[in-house]
Symmetry: C2
Subunit: 329 residues, 2 copies
């Protein structure tokens, strides 16, 4: 900038005025400055600018895995809202590791992001207290923050699962299995709760071998499913606790001679083309991201109420057939 000023024969501040299109510069000088800028290939250094203005126009997004379709869609929505507010987006995957989540969050804070959208991996987010006090707007998505009062955007996990399980019950099933993610994960727990509630509401007992919580690796899911289907009281239908589980379940069930009813949490591509087409409880990934990001910017604009908000987005049961398969016996 100094070079540009020298070349154009003007002061530093005048260059700054031209670059920022501030008023009070003769068209003539502006042209001279612009020419110098072009000649020197000058580009304003936004880091320095932002250091001075104390707004970084960037937000950080921490989620579990950028490659998961659910989070990919969520990211894209957050990105779009950020862009519409003139902010850039840092992204990072925690891989469900609290330490990594904290590392990422603190790295973003050290860069002085204006705000954070976090899919919490850990149990305790009090490490964020000083940051929030320092003015970093923070919105949690998909799961509530641990031991921290902050904005959160969730889906109706328990309700959605209840609806999905009730759908299976309505089609005659009495022995229904549930395979979920690791029990420590909030969404997994909520969905398990929904399953229990739906069963209880129908007066159905739940045998311990009918539900299994754990990592969503294909091996684990396959083993759990096999155990449910081959026990003394085999299940006739399965509720899959998330899209990873559903996908593996579809594979395993396709290899069996007799059809097994299936409803999954989370929609996924091609669910409608499978045979049978898969009935799912769909959550609105872009919607969650959008609402969260909007809440973030509302906070940044200082418009938001002081208290933490809790938004719960509805889910939608999409009936495609796999939930209507009758019990084998």
């Amino acid at each position: 900038m100094k070079d540009v000023a020298a070349r154009a024969g003007v002061g530093l501040k005048t260059v700054s005025r031209v670059v920022n299109e501030e008023p009070g510069v003769t068209p003539d000088t502006a042209a001279r400055v612009q020419a110098a800028i072009d000649a020197l290939g000058f580009r304003r250094n936004d880091s320095a600018r932002l250091l001075r203005t104390r707004r970084t126009a960037s937000v950080g997004l921490v989620l579990e895995d950028l490659a998961d379709p659910f989070y990919a869609a969520l990211s894209r929505a957050v990105e779009d809202v950020a862009r519409s507010h003139g902010a850039l987006l840092f992204t990072g995957s925690s891989a469900e590791d609290p330490r990594r989540e904290q590392e990422l969050v603190l790295a973003f804070c050290a860069r002085r992001v204006d705000g954070l959208v976090v899919v919490p991996a850990g149990e305790d987010h009090r490490y964020l207290l000083p940051e929030i006090a320092a003015g970093v707007a923070t919105v949690f998505v998909d799961r509530p923050a641990g031991r921290l009062d902050a904005d959160v955007v969730l889906t109706d996990n328990a309700g959605g699962t209840r609806e999905g399980v009730a759908h299976l019950i309505a089609h005659g099933h009495r022995r229904i299995g549930f395979i979920g993610d690791q029990p420590g994960i909030h969404t997994a727990g909520e969905r398990l709760r929904g399953y229990r509630e739906a069963m209880a509401a129908a007066g159905l007992a739940v045998r311990p071998e009918w539900y299994a919580m754990g990592p969503t690796t294909p091996e684990r899911v396959e083993a759990a499913l096999d155990a449910m289907l081959n026990g003394t009281e085999p299940v006739t239908a399965l509720f899959a606790g998330n899209n990873r589980v559903t996908v593996t379940a579809v594979r395993v069930l396709a290899a069996r001679p007799d059809p097994v009813a299936l409803v999954g949490f989370d929609d996924f591509e091609l669910a409608d083309v499978l045979d049978p087409a898969i009935t799912v409880v769909a959550q609105d990934a872009p919607g969650i991201g959008r609402v969260a990001a909007q809440q973030l910017f509302r906070r940044l604009d200082g418009i938001a109420a002081e208290e933490a908000t809790r938004t719960e987005l509805p889910v939608r049961l999409i009936e495609r057939g796999s939930g209507e398969i009758p019990p084998a016996r």
Copy 2:
């Protein structure tokens, strides 16, 4: 930092030394400084630090759509490599709009990212010349840069398509259709070329109504496919030019009474569970991202050769059955 220094009764620089774990500080003073840091909840401002050190430890990733599974996987790989080099990742989706791509790239450059990984949307990337001259390492992925000599990581689009089309020919097909993305997109053009080459190599003529290039919206793909299947010389097999097209094709073909052979470019989840299971030419999305990011950091370390490199990753034909359906007549 000034406050910390005052509270600990030391100089500014000593605090800096403690924060950066530089040698030459008595354990005693270090402890005093640390106490002040904790008391004040001080966190170093990395923006300022990076302004001073002139390295931002961040890279920018511009791609078409973060929500596309292919790019999501690629992003994750880039992120992992960046993390292992201690860098944070800015991401942005261009939505296939050259203006938006340029906006994003320049915004990243204004933040003085150390490097860029770009899936080019436009035809002309000379606007990047000054940035590259200024030292921003740049690697293009998936498609080569327009009118610019830079590192690029590609997949073997033409070769992969040749192989896929040859697979259909080997199973008796003579009239084979091709539906690709917009003709301006490099990968789309290369795949079309592969299709033509495979047909020519087998001595088969290609009728103009057998191939269609354009947006990958379901409507367009469906219309194109209908036209090919209902013409006077209907195709008996289809090569789908990318995962969006394949997905729509699967839907359309599933609704037809007579089976049509299909091979798609890009693997996708559940391709193996469909009936018939879909044969695909799989590219290695994480591999592309990883190789590109590694090349980027090689440049940043100054280890890389001066000349631009061009890496072409192989593809893999995964035979699952849909390519082996014989011609209807």
